[in-house]
Symmetry: C2
Subunit: 389 residues, 2 copies
């Protein structure tokens, strides 16, 4: 086990009706906020109105900025920073999924640091200060509600880049599973792939003595898979299945599950190019790439891949050698993704394999990807090709 | 799943050599502290000297108060409060096990609140303020290093009472598994029973939809049991086994594992009387009482008890009915406790069954115990009698 530091200061407020605490929780920090959202379903569902009522009752004033899109755009971040500075706002309140929360984190950074906020995403500079961020989560997926991560797309590239800064961790996040009842099933599925990927990125490590976190990772993945099946078997409004998924989504990315281990993150790096080139949803890109990543690495600590197959996908190790067991695990993972409507090959999502060379070149522009096995450009290209078979 | 709030602000600094960060971490809060410890093994091992060097290098001044005993005494707490007030100290730094940390929390409470600190333990008053507490952990057991709990004994009763106050949660805790190499094996075993009990108290719930936290609890318990076996099979200085146990001990009691569920805590309530009457170590009292508690409750949600037997103790459900499976789980738990040198019956620890009536009367003085099943005086007495069979 590696030495580590672990601390997660986000206050999680979880359960039915908790969005009505938005005002009272916010008022503990300030009475002037930016209310940031997509302007889409959260308005139509009446959620934004309920939030405004809660804010008003607590004496909190807001300026509204909507228009956040999936793969949130740098241009809107710039606009948010301008508003926050001009109106002297003191907290950025996100209502939405990971895109809205990530956009809020970027605004919170840009509002109190000199110079271009994009510099943080290009890893040209770091900082310890940002405005406080708070969130109401409507899509369990990115885990941004208690993480230090933010991923923004500069549409001029397009460049999709992520940064991890402690100062952007939300001070509180409100998670009401009822808010996810009406998510389109494709978004639900993409979120499930994203949270599974967040755990797998941590699970696949060469660190040999991490039994406790192995157990926690495996248990969380099993709980996600079982409850996903419940939701997709007509349980869209099953509160408890939605609750298990929602809490798992936050835990998947709050760093508890990576304590003492070196995480991988190659698949996320490769996926960012898929999104940048084709605009595919992040979770769908991951359901295509993760199986391919395992197939490419099948000789790389095969016992761990076989354990993953046994503990997470129920493969009986007694009937296979390690490699066969590991491959059976990949088959089952692909079947699971397909069963909830996700692509597992380029063709399923109509992605053009002709772009593979270009994507592989760009994926490694900051250096090789991953830690389980360092992936150079030719490795990345080979994995894209497996996914395109 | 129940609505819940979850937040744990303790910064965990984990790994080899981390005690040398004591000074630099403390200096972020203040330069005047109370250094609180037992005066025993932590002095003999040279740990206290290393901590002082680290404090000195960071310009931190301290006043020292040693003498903490197992089941920490209220009289020493009063002395600590007096010193802190007189010397105008601003942080209580614990070096030791749960007793030292709990004593530090009590001092931190008493130093900044009017009136008798014991009032908090009698639940006659509450507070939101305390001096910051920090800790270096030498015994993985109580989980006090990142919990809001503190248990103190008023030796005049004797009364052993616990309180849970957010303001006493340590601001940082340093966990170096190497510091536990020289723990006497009985203390190691008691710690293991204590952390297993902390998880079991949370695991045994009537809340039906808590799959994610069920998985996390079961995984943590399996990791504890496996690594305990490694330590007791000659692995006293196996860094990784000690590390898994130490991290599990903190997670067992940081409340993540009880999110969304109603915890029980009857066994802890019953154990406090065992300690008060006989001075038995807390973990040894729990290894006696938890099996008895399950036996008494065998008809109480038997499927959950059987699941516990299957998932944690490897009982194959196919060969038993639920009740048989659950009982087989209890046998295995008792065997496990015995294998690491712990008592599982009154006679093993030479406890006098003649006191059972009196203990049962006192155990319920604040009302019935537990939530899995509410235990009245006659229930508590029956459980003590099972343990005394």
């Amino acid at each position: 086990m590696q030495n580590f530091e672990y601390c997660n200061r986000t206050k999680i407020i979880f359960g039915r009706g908790t969005e009505n605490q938005a005002g009272s929780e916010t008022a503990q920090y300030t009475k002037r906020i930016l209310l940031h959202h997509s302007g889409g379903s959260s308005v139509r569902s009446g959620l934004i109105d309920r939030v405004k009522t809660s804010l008003k009752n607590a004496g909190v004033e807001w300026v509204e900025l909507d228009g956040v899109q999936p793969n949130p755009r740098l241009s809107l971040v710039y606009k948010g920073i301008e508003i926050v500075k001009k109106e002297k706002l003191e907290l950025v309140f996100a209502v939405g999924g990971g895109s809205v929360i990530d956009s809020s984190k970027a605004i919170a950074l840009g509002a109190v640091n000199e110079g271009d906020v994009w510099g943080f995403y290009e890893r040209k500079k770091i900082t310890g200060k940002a405005l406080p961020v708070a969130a109401i989560v409507t899509i369990p997926a990115a885990g941004s509600e208690s993480s230090i991560s933010s991923v923004i797309t500069d549409e001029r590239g397009p460049w999709k880049r992520g940064v991890n800064l402690e100062c952007t961790r939300p001070v509180f996040s409100i998670l009401n599973p009822e808010l996810t009842y009406t998510l389109p099933s494709y978004q639900t599925a993409c979120g499930i792939a994203d949270m599974l990927a967040h755990i797998m990125e941590r699970y696949f490590t060469k660190e040999p003595h991490v039994e406790l976190t192995d157990e926690l990772c495996e248990g969380a993945m099993r709980a996600i898979i079982r409850n996903a099946r419940t939701i997709f078997a007509g349980g869209e409004k099953n509160y408890h299945a939605r609750a298990e998924i929602m809490w798992a989504g936050a835990l998947a990315h709050n760093n508890l599950l990576s304590t003492g281990r070196i995480s991988d993150w190659a698949s996320h790096g490769m996926e960012h190019e898929l999104t940048a080139f084709f605009g595919i949803a992040h979770g769908a890109g991951l359901s295509i790439l993760f199986p391919a990543w395992i197939r490419y690495n099948i000789k790389e600590d095969t016992p761990r891949l076989a354990r993953f197959a046994a503990k997470v996908w129920g493969v009986d190790g007694a009937f296979y050698d390690y490699e066969q067991a590991a491959l059976e695990g990949v088959f089952r993972m692909e079947n699971f993704f397909r069963s909830i409507g996700l692509p597992v090959k380029f063709a399923d999502a109509k992605l053009d394999p002709a772009r593979i060379g270009e994507m592989a070149r760009r994926a490694v522009i900051f250096g090789p990807l991953g830690n389980y096995r360092k992936l150079e450009q030719e490795d990345v290209e080979a994995i894209y090709r497996i996914a395109a078979e």
